[in-house]
């Protein structure tokens, strides 16, 4: 599935929710259920310190596709990470570089991606793109 296809699928899923509570409950479920990063990668090297919450992100190349794992100490942040990983992980670096994150606005979670929110998510997306650039160079 391409990044765009996954994003469309996520938008469709979220369109079934009737209000913010259902959206948040779903995100909290996602945040709770997923072991998103192996403990060995939860290191200071992989940390992004937001003013509000911390985010850990790690990337590895598997064949020609990038695998991301990430985590956060805040559950809602972690839920959004789960959605971002679903969209961007297991994709070619070039496709990751070309993709955007507008779908987060469409599923009503825009405020969490505000740079002023300082929850580490904006830096995480930047980090995902940086990894993509680095591994793209490696593949060339």
């Amino acid at each position: 599935m391409t990044i765009q296809e996954t994003q469309r699928e996520i938008i469709e899923e979220f369109s079934l929710f009737e209000d913010w509570m259902q959206r948040y409950e779903y995100m909290i479920e996602l945040g709770k259920s997923l072991p998103l990063i192996p403990e060995e990668f939860k290191t200071d090297d992989n940390i992004i310190k937001g003013c509000q919450s911390k985010v850990w992100v790690h990337a590895a190349l598997d064949q020609d596709k990038l695998q991301f794992s990430a985590d956060s100490d805040a559950i809602i942040t972690k839920g959004i990470i789960a959605i971002l990983i679903r969209a961007f992980s297991n994709q070619h670096p070039k496709d990751i570089l070309d993709a955007n994150t507008d779908f987060i606005d469409e599923i009503g979670l825009k405020e969490h991606l505000s740079p002023t929110r300082a929850n580490g998510l904006v830096s995480m997306i930047k980090q995902i793109k940086l990894y993509a650039i680095a591994f793209q160079t490696q593949l060339n």
Binding site: I28, Q52, S53, A74, T77
Partner: protein, 408 residues
């Protein structure tokens, strides 16, 4: 506009923003420690300035400039009277607390030598830590920390042992922004003066709740921001004793702060203009005066008594919620409650409360050393003002319980 007793509904009707909804819910504004809301009376003063007498001050011969200058200087006098400074020129109007602290920190660069000691409390806002660290880097002075207790009070015994003849400056907040603790500034000042040290009191959090008398307390420097006391952002004050301010070099060079300029030498203007280079926030300064008028008309004793009631009620309600831990339980506190719920990150609580129209602050509140002390990533902070109500606290508690049910 005199309030015999606090008529909360009348007071609330003064604040247009309190009538609005957030995320489809009536706004419950509990982030007063970050900034207070602005009453219509103060908004009117800003509108009136720009619609009637907007002009640059202290230099025009024309009528508008004179009117603006008079209003601005009248505001300075209101600030002087409010804090009971001996002279109006001991009040420097600044862009806010951070600016005020930086004026002093920068001025001391020429007065300190390597090995001099500065004392800071463990519960300061970053704005009362970083300028002094920069000063120490420049001068070789040493920054020492007055530690805090689990309860959120200062270890005064350790303070005694830290003070010595090398101590040049002590800077402490009157009230902690993250914990609400009211610090014993009278004792801190008396003891510092006994070894010849000067004291800067950061009044950003205290000024909305406690009227500080700078002469009675023998305060050397007192700083605060207008936006914490129903005034606009971008304006604040620095009080300094006349002789101390005279001994400090100017902070910024520019217009307004000079007596005479030639390319050989410039002589500086007298206080307060020496520290007021450039065109100030004129409307803001005038509105600062109006904000003090507004709060004084209600009365600080009435405000303090009512806010204490809110604090006691809020604390009791929160303590009754299973899993809630409150940080900062000093006997003397302003209406600030910093708390966490066991096993839940403050960001998650804050995000869900916001969805229900409740504005609280989450995070480290620019006071990371306090969070490190308690070994927590941050807290949820509810801070009340005199326009808040117990009904709003009930709404927060109900919303908190819903958030906990979702998150646990």
């Amino acid at each position: 506009m005199t309030y015999k007793t606090l008529d909360i509904q009348k007071i609330r009707s003064d604040f247009p923003i309190l009538q609005r909804e957030v995320n489809g819910q009536p706004l419950v504004y509990f982030d007063n420690a970050a900034t207070s809301q602005t009453p219509q009376q103060v908004i009117n003063v800003i509108v009136d300035y720009y619609s009637q007498y907007n002009a640059n001050i202290h230099r025009g011969v024309h009528s508008l400039s004179q009117e603006a200058t008079d209003a601005y200087e009248q505001a300075r006098q209101k600030v002087q009277q409010h804090f009971n400074a001996a002279k109006a020129h001991e009040i420097i109007l600044t862009s806010g607390t951070t600016h005020s602290i930086n004026i002093i920190a920068s001025g001391y660069a020429s007065l300190l030598k390597a090995g001099d000691e500065l004392l800071v409390s463990a519960m300061e806002h970053h704005s009362n830590i970083v300028p002094w660290q920069m000063l120490c880097e420049k001068t070789g002075a040493i920054l020492k920390v007055i530690p805090m207790t689990q309860q959120g009070t200062l270890e005064m015994n350790t303070y005694d042992t830290l003070l010595n003849e090398k101590t040049k400056l002590v800077f402490v907040n009157h009230v902690s922004n993250a914990l609400g603790t009211v610090n014993p500034i009278e004792e801190i000042i008396t003891k510092a003066h006994a070894v010849g040290a000067k004291v800067l009191i950061d009044g950003a959090q205290a000024a909305p709740h406690i009227k500080a008398d700078v002469q009675a307390l023998d305060i050397d420097y007192y700083v605060t921001s207008a936006h914490k006391l129903c005034g606009p952002t971008g304006v604040g004050m620095l009080y300094g004793k006349e002789d101390l301010l005279n001994s400090l070099p100017p902070y910024q060079g520019g217009g307004e702060m000079i007596a005479e300029v030639t390319f050989k030498k410039t002589t500086y203007a007298d206080l307060p203009h020496k520290f007021e280079a450039g065109t100030p926030n004129i409307a803001g300064g005038i509105a600062f005066g109006a904000a003090l008028d507004y709060m004084n008309a209600i009365g600080f004793d009435a405000i303090a008594a009512y806010e204490q009631e809110l604090l006691d009620y809020g604390t009791a309600q929160l303590k009754a919620v299973d899993g809630v831990a409150i940080y900062g339980e000093a006997k003397e506190k302003t209406a600030v409650i910093s708390f966490n719920v066991k096993g839940i990150h403050p960001y998650d609580i804050g995000s869900i409360l916001d969805k229900m129209g409740i504005a609280v602050r989450t995070g480290h509140h620019c006071a990371q050393p306090i969070m490190d002390y308690y070994q927590i990533p941050g807290t949820v902070r509810a801070s009340f003002s005199f326009y808040n109500t117990k009904e709003e606290i009930n709404l927060m508690i109900a919303a908190l319980k819903r958030a906990m049910a979702m998150l646990q």
